[in-house]
Symmetry: C2
Subunit: 322 residues, 2 copies
């Protein structure tokens, strides 16, 4: 079906758009019944489905002038696929709800779909269903389904003595965000890292089979999310800054903006790196880097159980949603 380049959602209508979207979503082997009915049916052979949902709001989680619709599609899909990854699972299916003003260009919605489909193809997941409706503001609701082998890796299993490790880039998207927020478009590598994060999709299942005791994906900020893990596990965690290699573009942006580049790494979110803990005797799988260790939780710890080089971190630790 051909949709004119200047058509809006209201011109094309719900059913026209659904038809055009359907053509864009390849259905993989796990899909027993794809889009077009009251519900989809997805295979999860071992009888357990992993599920996670996220909302993405225009002007808060993304800005249309900071990247293409395809970039937004990559971003929103990556955020949910990463949640499945952080359980040690593999995503197989997504549902996507789009609430948007009637005057949104239909081409934007279709390009969004292309971005979502392309990100899904990285892990072999399919978009199996969704919903379209009018709203004053664009809100994209993504739910990811997946499968796991063995037990899910929770946030609550870290034990004193464990090693804390990270997989994936960390701080790059925050560096890109800082650049974009000031009206710049370079360094290109950081801007691209913000627009299209590259979550370490293989690292989650690898951590699970290597015996990780706990895991979380970094979506709200490294210190904040490591704090969630420490709280869930009732432990203290110390991160060592000498473990972090500060990439050249982060140094450059830090110097240009007068900011400590370590701040991007410690408080940035959107890269969807994974943090996991491993028993100290366990060798880390490839792609994982040691960044700290787990200790007993002392009685004096108050607001956060996470320290940096043995001291409390001064300043914000992540993103607040309200």
């Amino acid at each position: 079906m051909t949709i004119p380049a200047d058509a809006t959602l209201s011109d094309v209508g719900e059913f026209g758009l659904v038809a055009a979207l359907g053509e864009r979503f390849h259905q993989g082997g796990a899909v027993l019944l794809g889009p077009g009915d009251d519900a989809a049916v997805v295979a999860v052979p071992d009888g357990r489905v992993v599920v996670s949902t996220d909302l993405h709001v225009d002007g808060r989680h993304f800005r249309r002038d900071w990247g293409s619709a395809a970039d937004v599609g990559h971003r929103v899909a990556a955020a949910n696929l990463s949640d499945i990854n952080a359980m040690g699972g593999r995503a197989t299916a997504l549902t996507v709800g789009l609430a948007a003003p009637a005057d949104l260009p239909a081409a934007w919605a279709l390009e969004l779909a292309d971005g979502i489909a392309a990100e899904c193809s990285l892990v072999g997941a399919s978009v199996v269903g969704g919903d379209l409706t009018g709203a004053d503001q664009i809100v994209i609701a993504v739910t990811a389904l997946g499968e796991i082998v063995g037990e899910p890796v929770r946030r609550s299993g870290a034990r004193p003595g464990d090693v804390v490790a990270i997989a994936g880039r960390q701080g790059w998207a925050a560096g890109g965000l800082a650049v974009l927020a000031r009206g710049f478009r370079s360094p290109r590598t950081l801007v691209e890292a913000y627009r299209r994060p590259e979550p370490p999709y293989a690292a989650g299942p690898e951590a699970a089979s290597a015996g990780a005791t706990s895991m979380i994906d970094v979506s709200d900020g490294l210190l904040g999310d490591v704090g969630h893990l420490a709280d869930a596990s009732s432990v203290a965690i110390d991160l060592r800054t000498d473990c972090f290699e500060i990439a050249e573009p982060l140094r450059a942006v830090g110097a240009a903006l007068g900011m400590d580049p370590l701040r991007f790494i410690l408080t940035g979110g959107d890269d969807h790196a994974l943090v996991a803990t491993y028993p100290s005797a366990t060798g880390l799988p490839s792609g994982w880097t040691r960044i700290g260790e787990v200790a007993e939780r002392g009685e004096s710890v108050e607001r956060t159980a996470v320290t940096v080089d043995g001291r409390a971190w001064e300043g914000p630790t992540g993103h607040l949603h309200f």
Copy 2:
């Protein structure tokens, strides 16, 4: 945890609200890992999960002055649970995303959660996860997961000669909506039907085991949704108005508003009745009423394949989303 009666979402904060919500959601037997981690894990013993997602936008799908937050919770949960029902499945888990302005009373969000939990309890489903974020307008994203026995009942299986049947109330919610839209609050039974639909949750699995050839839930309007079923099955469907018993409150509202009460039945949505087709030799399960029959699709049929008493229906057939 106690939240002050006049607190807003911004006062309570994301994590405070998440903690308060967690206490409200009972976790049923299918939940292997509930809220609080990167993703939840739900059992679907036969290895297939049914999934459906919907968005509900303030001012479009619900109005806060037309009912309580608990009513809205019942409505949004019912809409998704009904989608699983319409496949012949049984819902086991929901995820709920809430995007809302920071000044929304926290009590409204908590009462919304109570309504969702109460509706879920009717089918034994659990709220296993979700997301909270700020937005200019309230948008509620619900995804339902479920299980099926045997094959899912699709929209595409209706065959000429089949009987068309309905389960559940139809037109009541539309009658209630017509009343509310004019600023009235009675007849109470219709207003309540709009605020808290009563989908026939047992009817979906019963239809599946009785051999229904196709099924859909009526969410956008009876004629519109029967049209989707006819299109998916490449058949024509004739509905017989003498099969519909027009309930007394619908007659009363029709008379008061100068409207044909049949219009509520033929074009109303929000009751989440089920429409299914059965081979003519199959006895209908209890709770199902014959309302028409399936015929070959003629070549002359254009916009819709659905007729009423053998003639095209003049007027709107359902709800347009843009």
